[in-house]
């Protein structure tokens, strides 16, 4: 009887989605019970091979979490070619910079095979921050740590050029 009720009432996708999202580093600070709120904020979409998820220069407001397939990230070079920056695997996320500052995308993302993604849109993230602050804070903290780590890595690899950029900016 209890098993029958469980089969009728419980969502079989719930645990599958939760297990997948628990593996995504962005959501590591979120407890098991809170994942239901996160599902409400995510939207699922499929892309065909070769389809562009977003173009470099487009204004974006969403973060993408790769569920299945592979996504190629490319950027236009000064010569007019495109350079491949990375190929992303399931569980990776991308597009976080535009989610935060709503400025143009710095690279192009294209599906190399049939791809399934979850989209976390800015409005939904803001709603999470207001309605379930613990989840919002966990995501925001992780994003801030990621950006800080990137900056630190950049200053360590090219300290002089960055220092001169800061000096030049101060002069302006």
């Amino acid at each position: 009887m209890i098993r029958w009720l469980k089969n009728i009432l419980l969502d079989p996708d719930f645990n599958r989605k939760r297990k997948f999202l628990q593996r995504v580093s962005l959501f590591q600070g979120i407890s098991r019970r809170e994942f239901g709120h996160l599902f409400q904020a995510l939207m699922s979409r499929a892309y065909a091979p070769g389809e562009i998820l977003f173009h470099e220069g487009d204004v974006g407001r969403a973060l993408f979490i790769l569920v299945s397939g592979h996504v190629e990230i490319t950027r236009a070079t000064a010569k007019g070619d495109t350079a491949r920056i990375a190929v992303l695997n399931p569980g990776d996320y991308f597009g976080e910079m535009s989610l935060l500052d709503e400025r143009p995308r710095t690279a192009t993302a294209a599906a190399t095979e049939p791809v399934q993604v979850y989209l976390l849109y800015k409005t939904e993230l803001e709603k999470l921050v207001k309605d379930v602050p613990h989840i919002g804070a966990a995501i925001m903290t992780h994003l801030a740590m990621l950006l800080a780590a990137r900056l630190r890595a950049m200053t360590e690899t090219a300290p002089l050029s960055l220092a001169s950029t800061v000096k030049a900016r101060k002069a302006i």
Binding site: L9, D11, N15, F39, Q40, I52, A62, R103, L162
Partner: protein
């Protein structure tokens, strides 16, 4: 700006859909009300969904609960209405006598031509009302149709809502996905808040009006308060309708201007409480519309679609405002009119 075929196609589809909806607007009412019902129910469904329950059984159980509660309330209200109708029939001679006395007292204060017109034609009004009862009863059939259709359509709206949203997002070209998501989330947030807010506000106003009318001892307080609550769905109208109905009852019940003044005081108090306490609390997160825009929307709605235009003028105005708020920044940023500025501290604070 270069209008290519890819840009024109969605525009043509949008115009065609708008024209089609305009042509069939007379049959859209049950669908719009079902949408409002779906907005009202969806937070409850979400409450269970975030806890890992499947949407379909939750919606079915909630519907059984709602229909049961509604049927019980309807039965109780019908019982009270029948009881009070019996009471009204018993007290009618007294009311007519009191009303006659009040009119006689008013004779000296009111313009005699106007008074004579009312006295002359007033005798014929009951007959006229009775003669129109059959057509009124027939006119109730569409209302009953709506009463049964709305929960039926609403059930599918609530059950399938997220699937339809996902289908729309899958259908649009990937380049417009983020813009469409922005539009959908903003519309969903603002309309959802508006619909839930307006229903909660109507309930609160009805309760306060009931308390006020009951406190001054007005007859048929419950019925008048229910009408006040329903009428309050149209901004500013609830307390006004309450004064018209309550004033009429007060005139017959007490036969004095003092009774009318008591009803007026209650209605003014309801209006102030609504403005100062209920609206700021209930509607704080909904789309804010300037009062002048609300009046303009109400007048335009009435002019274009009559009563139903009046009823849906404000939510439609909210939708238009959200559409403009979403489309205009997107249009400006898409075509390079503006570039979002980086944080100003970037030039001042060194990288440490």
């Amino acid at each position: 700006m270069n209008l290519s075929g890819r840009t024109l196609f969605p525009l043509v589809v949008l115009v065609a859909v708008s024209y089609f909806l305009f042509r069939i607007h007379e049959i859209l009412l049950p669908f719009i009300l079902a949408g409002a019902l779906a907005y009202f129910v969806s937070p409850l469904v979400r409450f269970f969904e975030v806890r890992g329950l499947r949407r379909e059984p939750v919606v079915i159980l909630l519907y059984i609960l709602f229909v049961g509660t509604f049927a019980y309330l309807f039965y109780k209200l019908a019982w009270v209405a029948a009881f009070e109708a019996q009471d009204a029939a018993r007290n009618m001679p007294v009311y007519i006598q009191e009303g006659g006395k009040a009119l006689a007292r008013l004779r000296g204060h009111v313009n005699s031509a106007c008074f004579n017109y009312v006295a002359e034609h007033g005798k014929a009004w009951p007959q006229a009302i009775l003669s129109r009862m059959p057509s009124f009863a027939l006119g109730m059939f569409p209302v009953l149709e709506v009463v049964f259709l709305v929960p039926f359509i609403g059930f599918f709206f609530v059950r399938e809502g997220p699937h339809w949203r996902d289908a729309i997002v899958s259908w649009v070209p990937s380049r417009y996905v983020e813009m469409l998501l922005n539009l959908l989330f903003e519309l969903d947030n603002s309309l959802g808040r508006y619909v839930r807010g307006i229903l909660l506000e109507a309930f609160c106003v009805g309760c306060i009006a009931l308390f006020g009318f009951w406190a001054i001892g007005l007859g048929y307080s419950l019925q008048i308060a229910v009408v006040v609550g329903i009428a309050n769905v149209i901004p500013y109208v609830g307390p006004f309708v309450g004064f018209l109905l309550g004033g009429g009852v007060a005139l017959f019940q007490w036969g004095s201007i003092f009774g009318l003044a008591k009803v007026l005081a209650v209605c003014v108090a309801v209006r102030f409480i609504e403005d100062w306490f209920i609206q700021p609390t209930v509607m704080q997160k909904a789309v804010h519309l300037h009062p002048v825009l609300i009046v303009l929307a109400l007048m335009s709605g009435t002019e274009l679609f009559g009563f139903w235009g009046l009823l849906f003028a404000v939510p439609v105005a909210c939708m238009i405002k959200v559409l403009l708020e979403v489309f205009w920044p997107w249009y400006r940023s898409q075509y390079g009119f503006i570039s979002p500025a980086p944080l100003p501290e970037i030039n001042r604070i060194p990288l440490v």
